[in-house]
């Protein structure tokens, strides 16, 4: 089980094994694993982007900051709970994650209601600029409340490191990937099998027709925002617990990356967002392996531009015409 702080570290055996195997192959396996892990974060956030875009064709620029908000809500909840016994930390984390999901989901609904809904018929430029404004408000609002300094997350996931075909894989990584996977499967079930999910898909095809068929469009859009924001909030708490540091600008870069992932997978497509997240994770891992870490973002954005020019619909995307 993960412990809160473990003074003893499982180390020696790992490096010992590394020394005997073929270094090249190990590196590849490690790169793939690191890419998979980061990619699952991207995928969780990309889902929110993709769902919102699919349903109202809005690029929710503030989505990355919802992730940051989730991390700070988790931080506040854990801090107010006080000391948590090490054995309970995974349970406490799950509870706090659920709480954070509900609150960030609510925040998403409020943002949609007050910032985006009044502009539903307005030109895209106006809505996009509003989204930039919401992003700024969230970032600097949190900075005003919690201070501009980075905070250390109260719970730290730590655990054994396994050595699987040459890659170092830690227990927290496995747990987080499992949580991300479960959330994505639940979401897929929701969208494919429930009536709300059907309504979402129908609105993304033709909003007016859906309205005429008796679908409460506003309510469904609110739910979409709730789900997308809740997933980002969950990712925020997970990132806080795994990396241990949160700050008010943490959502900016990852929001861009998640958007890139959504585009690569095919924006508006839920499976595409998951796939795109993983692909971007790999692309970045290999990019920094080949060009050095300081060029990683340049590489990621270059891939985005390449994708947009050569295959704007993404890997799984369908042809989307611009709404005029």
């Amino acid at each position: 089980m993960p412990r809160r702080t473990s003074p003893k570290r499982p180390t020696a055996s790992v490096t010992a094994t590394v020394c005997f195997a073929d270094p090249k192959r190990i590196l590849m396996v490690q790169v793939i694993w690191d890419g998979l892990f980061v990619g699952s974060f991207y995928a969780l956030i990309a889902l929110g982007y993709s769902m919102v875009y699919g349903i109202i064709k809005l690029l929710n620029f503030a989505h990355g900051d919802i992730y940051m908000l989730g991390a700070f809500i988790g931080f506040a909840a854990l801090t107010s709970l006080g000391g948590i016994p090490a054995t309970l930390s995974i349970g406490a984390l799950l509870v706090v994650m659920l709480l954070s999901m509900v609150l960030t989901g609510g925040a998403g609904v409020l943002i949609e209601r007050f910032a985006y809904r009044p502009l539903r018929g307005a030109p895209r430029l106006a809505v996009l600029i509003t989204a930039v404004g919401v992003s700024f408000s969230l970032e600097y609002g949190i900075a005003a409340i919690a201070g501009p300094n980075p905070r250390a997350f109260p719970i730290r996931l730590e655990g054994n490191v396994f050595n699987i075909i040459g890659a170092r894989i830690s227990l927290p990584q496995i747990i987080l990937i499992l949580i991300a996977g479960v959330l994505m499967i639940l979401l897929n079930f929701y969208v494919q099998k429930t009536s709300t999910g059907r309504a979402m898909r129908s609105i993304s095809l033709d909003r007016n027709a859906s309205l005429l068929m008796g679908i409460n469009v506003n309510q469904v859009i609110s739910r979409t925002f709730f789900i997308g924001s809740a997933l980002a909030g969950a990712a925020g708490v997970m990132a806080g617990a795994y990396y241990g540091k949160i700050d008010f600008l943490m959502g900016f870069i990852i929001g861009l990356k998640a958007f890139t992932a959504a585009v690569i997978g095919g924006i508006g497509n839920i499976k595409g967002a998951m796939l795109g997240g993983l692909v971007l994770g790999f692309v970045e891992a290999f990019g920094s392996e080949w060009f050095g870490g300081q060029w990683r973002d340049v590489f990621a954005f270059a891939v985005l531009i390449l994708f947009l020019t050569l295959r704007p619909t993404g890997i799984l995307g369908e042809r989307v015409t611009e709404r005029v």
């Binding site: 180390t11 490096t15 690191d34 980075p150 241990g244 540091k245 891992a285 300081q294």
Partner: protein, 393 residues
Amino acid sequence: MKITKRSTMLLGVATAVLLATAGCSGGLLGGGGDGGDGGGEESGPIKLALVVPISGSSAPTGAYMENGAQLAVDEINDDGGILDGRMLELDVEDEACDAQQSVAGANKAVSNGAVVSVGGYCSGATLPEIPIFEKANIPMIIPAANSQDIVNQGAKNVFMINGTGKQQSTAALTFMKDQGFKTVALVDDNTSYSKDINTETAKQIEEDGSVTVALSTSVTPGESDYSAVVRDIMGANPELVYWTGYYQEGGLIINQLMNAGYTGKIMVADGSVDASLSEIAGAGAEGVYATMTQTPDTLEGAEDWIANYKEAFGSDPGPYSTQSYDAVRLAAQAIEDAGSTDGDAIIKALEAIDGFEMFSGPLKFTPEHTLSSGGFVILVVKDGAFVLEDDLS
């Protein structure tokens, strides 16, 4: 385009208003065009400019520096001021670690009639301040910013009382050799200050020859996932990792290195010496070395000073509180020695100073206007706090 009657009137009114106010203030007609003449006044408080980060991610350090400087100002004023009873006054301006902000801040300080500048934290923001203060003939005593680029400017009004990147690298290399580290990985965060130490250390290691650089790389600050650099380090498998960036990323990298099963030692540069480092890095920070100038915590006999500081500001002193404190004291001493607030006289006085007692030891400037010895020591993290490990003497 014809000028109508109405707009002529508008223009006329605007001109009249502007000219009416021109005579009484610092306008071009008012003769105050050069602005930097505040130092020539014969009475009233003597202003010291303190351009430090008040906003942005480096804001906490700015507060520590402001407090340290204020403490010295209060002490000197309580003793009756300088130059026969003139009081000192701090003019605090924000640099926000950004060139544009720092230029505005420096210009504001010059306009306010500052006599000596005692600020400067971010090297990138301090560099463009130099021509402004140089033009106004205002000496700069820089307490924190320590990029070699500042030294290379060769401005005669610049005095640095923090060790330079070069001196920090020398301290790092000395410690590496003392401890017998054979291979070392150098990691910086691609900022001016950090890259400076990285390059300088690599250069000195190469000249020395007894240590090998297994890896020299940069990361992008502000991210969470540093698995790429961790992978590189694990691949190079060095005995020591020297991180020359700030504590935010430093904490993350230490944590991720430890989780990846890194068994070697880690050392950080002075930008990472902050209580938050071990909070972020968790238990992994234990045993991490740091190259740092003396802090009040590690100095013997500084208890009184810490107590004074706590009484004045209700919190413990932090990084660069002592340097800022010393900068103000040094400025006061130099003005007293010069006997005036004239820039040239103060610069002469600063160059002549010998044996002035500071936290880093007795002061005498080199011809380059840097400290003759950086005063760098090695700290180590014990129970989550930095304590003195080796004073390298």
